[in-house]
Every structure is written in C-alpha cells, then in structure tokens.
C-alpha cells in the first residue's frame, strides 16, 4: 500500500491507537478518506467502529497516533479551536441525540444560532424549512422529539447535522433499529446528500444491504485493525474467512461448537404442567 501522508485525503489517520482500561480497541490504524466519496466502516459489534469515527471528529482523543483534517492536525487541538473544525463536519448519532427539551425547529437552529449571527426570523424559518425538506419532513417544525418515530428522529438529526452545510458527515449506525423501508429511506438520503451537495460521508454500520448500497469503499475493522479494504464487489468476493462470515451473516464453526457443548437439555428439565396438582 502506498505511504499515507497528511494530504492523501480529506481525513487522514496515522497509526491511530486507542487503549481503554489496558485493552487496545484500535491498533495503529492508518487510513486516508477521499473527498466526495462515501466510505463505509463495517465490522462486528464491539470492534471499535464507533470509537473510530468519534476520533475523526475529536470527541475522543487517541492514546497514540495522529489525525488530520484537510492537512491540519486535529487530535491535539484545544476544545476552543476545534469549534471551527467541527463546523465543517456533521455527526449523526446512533439514537439521533436530539435535544428532547426543544422542538424540531430549535434543534435544527442550534448550530446555526451558535455559529452565525442570523437573527432575522424569516431567514431562520427558511433555513429550517430547506433542511427539513432535504430529509422530507417539512411541516414537523413544532414537534418535540418524543412525538417522532425512530426513523423520523434520525432524519431530523440528519437535518440538524447538515444545518451548517458541512463538507463531511459521519453516520453512526444510520439504519440500526429501523425497518427495511425506513432503512432504505436513510440510504437514499445519504446518496442524495452525496450527489446533490457533494458531501463526503463516513458511515459505520453492520447492515450489509445498506453498506453495499451507499458505499464507494468498504473498510472492515476486526480486533482494532483493518481486515479488508475495497469497493463493494471486492468485499463480496473477499477470500478471507472472517470477512466472508461477517458479510454473509454466518456463525463460525467454533461458535457453533461452543453452542452445541452446553446443549438445550437441562438436568432439571420440567414443564409447567409438572406443577399442577
């Protein structure tokens, strides 16, 4: 692989390592993310996918290694200076993370109010309307998050994430917990944002249907390292067993054996009718 340097992509990590309580979650991860493309990070639950993208927006700080955004090192920046960097990024949290004490309208205006001095009511209305229109929820301005369904919450959260017209959007498990139709709505939205606004997307998911559909590139993480890296076709035909098992959703022989050992017959087997008089 070619040597990665800080200008190889819009976001670059070099030897990113994160240790939690003496256990390495990420180990010397080096990756360059291309501008304008959608990169999907896949991997089993608990392999450090979410930890990885939280590093890219500096919500978590690495134990060792460097992270660059547009050639500027961000992992050692002070919280105060990160504000400007983060304005160019949007983050869609797994549960949406909408402020539940505020309406949809206020939620979307939060980043706008924090970073601009727009105070004209009509202009603010227009911003909210256009952002909600992108996610197809115009008219929901006065709703509280508690009154929205899971899919709607994620779409409002997406509208909030793109409120400042960011260049990069991170998606943390965008389709988890949604039914197949709602998942596809989110997939279409991610594609639409890329096509119409040229947004660079980085998504973390274990939903392979979604991964194949939205990705330009798929990276598989396993035990804190990159196990596979390529486009959807390459991943589908990857020779490695672990990768194949993951994308096909199969349990490995060892796991099956472990389940078989314990069995389903218990020494104290009983039926409800055993307790009847």
């Amino acid at each position: 692989m070619a040597e990665i340097d800080k200008d190889s992509g819009i976001i670059v990590t070099k030897d990113l390592t994160k240790v939690f309580n003496g256990k390495a979650v990420l180990e010397k991860l080096s990756i360059a993310i291309e501008k304008g493309k959608t990169t999907v990070i896949i991997g089993p639950s608990g392999c450090g996918k979410t930890v990885f993208i939280k590093h890219l927006i500096a919500l978590l700080r690495p134990t060792a290694g460097e992270i660059f955004f547009k050639g500027q090192r961000i992992d050692n920046l002070h919280e105060r200076d990160l504000g400007k960097i983060r304005m160019q990024m949007g983050f869609l949290f797994q549960g949406g993370a909408l402020f539940d004490s505020a309406t949809v309208y206020e939620n979307i205006l939060f980043p706008v109010r924090q970073h601009t001095n727009i105070s004209d009511r009509r202009q603010l209305d227009e911003i909210v309307k256009s952002k909600l229109a992108v996610v197809g929820l115009d008219g929901y301005q006065s709703y509280y998050p508690a009154n929205l369904s899971g899919g709607q919450k994620k779409r409002v959260a997406l509208a909030r994430a793109i409120a400042l017209n960011p260049e990069v959007v991170f998606y943390d498990e965008p389709t988890t917990g949604l039914d197949p139709v709602r998942s596809d709505v989110i997939n279409e939205l991610i594609l639409k944002l890329k096509k119409e606004l040229g947004i660079t997307s980085i998504a973390v998911t274990h939903d392979m249907t979604s991964a194949y559909k939205i990705s330009d590139r798929i990276v598989m993480l396993h035990k804190g390292k990159i196990l596979a890296d390529g486009d959807a076709e390459y991943i589908k035909n990857h020779p490695n067993d672990t990768v194949r098992q993951f994308i096909l959703g199969q349990v490995s022989e060892a796991d099956v054996a472990a389940l078989r050992v314990s069995g389903t017959k218990f020494a104290s087997q009983f039926n409800p009718k055993d307790f009847e008089e």
């Binding site: 939280k54 927006i57 919500l59 919280e79 105060r80 990160l82 504000g83 400007k84 960097i85 983060r86 304005m87 990024m89 949007g90 983050f91 949290f93 797994q94 549960g95 993370a97 909408l98 402020f99 539940d100 939060f110 980043p111 924090q114 970073h115 909030r160 400042l164």
Partner: protein, 309 residues
Amino acid sequence: MVCLQLSNRQSGYISPVIDLAKYALIGTLVVDVKEKGWVMIVEQIGASTIATVTETGQFARFIWRSAKSSVSSVFRGKTWPLVFTQMLIIGVKSVPVIMVTGAFVGMTLAFQAYDQLAGMGLGEHIGILINLSVVSELGPVLSAVMLSGRVGGALTAELGTMHVTEQIDAISSMGTDPVRYLVAPRILACLLLTPVLIVYADLMGSFGGYAISVWFFKINSQAYWQFTAYGVTLWDVMVGLTKGFFFGAAIAAISCYKGFNCKQGAQGVGQACTEAFVVSFIAILALDFAAAIISKSLYSIFYPIRSLI
C-alpha cells in the same frame, strides 16, 4: 452560654459514638479478611486511592474549565438568555420551598429555646438566639441543603440523561463547548441566586421566630426587637449571605460534574444523583466550617469580642 452548655453536655455522648465507629470499621475489616485475604485488601485500598486521586484531578480540571467559561460567559451577551432561563428554574421556582424551610427553622428554634431562657429570666433575649442562629448558620446552611436536593438533583439528572443519550457529545460535535453552553449558565445562576434565596430564608426565619416568641409566648415585641438589634449586626448577615456564593457555586459545580461523568443507563443516572447530593451536602458543611473559622478570625481583627448577654 447556651452554646457552651450544649458542648459540655455533648462531649459525654461523643466517645461511645467513636467506639461504635471503631467497632464497625474493625468488623467490616474482619469480614473482608475472612473472605478475601490480606492481599486483596491491600489491593483494594491501593485501587481506591488511585481512583480517588484520579477523580479529584478530573474534578479539579472540570472546575477550572467551568470557572473559565463562567467568567467569559459574563462578558458574552449571547449566553445571558441561557443564564436567565436557569435563574428561573433554579432561583425563582425555589423561593416557596426556601421560605417554608426558613419559617420552620425560626419557629422550631423559638419553641426549643424559650423555656430554658425564660427559666433564667432571659426570655426577652430569645430574639438574639433565634436571629443570630438563623442569619449566620441555619438560614444559609439549610437553604443550601434544600437547594442541593431540589436543584442539584435536577441538574445531575438532566445532564446525566443528556450524557447517556449522547446529547452532550452532539453539542460538542456541532462545534459548541458543552461546558460553556450547559455548565456555565447553571453555575452562574446558582452562584448569583443562592445568596438571594438565603435572604428569603433569613426573612422567614426571623418572622417564624417572631411569631412564636411574641404571639405564642407573649414576649414584649419591643424588647424582642431591641435585643435582636443589639445582638445581630450587619456583619453576621453579610457573612451568612457571602457563604451563599460559595454554597451555590459548590452545588452547581458538583452536580454538573456528576451529571457529565455519569455512567450509562438508568442506574448510572440514579447513582450520579445520589453521589451529587451526598458530595454537595458534605461540601456545604465543610465550606461552612471553613467560613466560620475565617469569619471569626477576621472579626477578631476588626472588632473586640461582643458579649451577647
């Protein structure tokens, strides 16, 4: 004199309490040794020492960050609306409960103290005892305890839930410092309004004491107020109110810290609230003790000692 008598009487009770505490400590140690052996205990002591030091350091850094952003918020017009919202929630809505606290304190003091004083023929001096206690100790401390329950609990639960549902991360991800947006307004509101709330507690405490002494025990109203005016000085009132700033800041800082660092899940939020209350309570008492020492020594520099009877 009353205080002196009290302390003499109390010293007799203290030694059995200490003995009891010793036995309890030894008891738990013995059980621990039987279960885990000495090595485990040494390990545990080490681990908890490290955890305590780490936590103290984290807390100190959090306080430093919050203090910096609170000061800078004062000069940023943008954060004032947030401070006013918090003032409404923290301050205005606490007034009734603080007034009730104050009134009961005054009334109870009057009731407890009257017969002893009257027996010594000092019944009319009761105003000094009630108002001095209320203004310099009981008003501020009990208001602060009330606030740490009412306000501190709510702050920790709110911020803890926001932390658990990633809303605090969301604020950071949108380029806003969550300490500046969430903590600074709460600390400022608490800091500025606790002394004001103490004024309400003092007012109702004096009124409660007056009501019981004059209306119920039929003490001469003029004598009551004359002795009070002689015994309670502006200094006492100001010391009481000054404590309010420290209590308010401590309650808000501790509660916000516990909320920001709460563990995942419903149990995590509950635990954070409990810890926030307990730590604030102890902080209030410790600060009060420190304030007593400092105010007494300052007073003795400027004024000669006053005999109250």
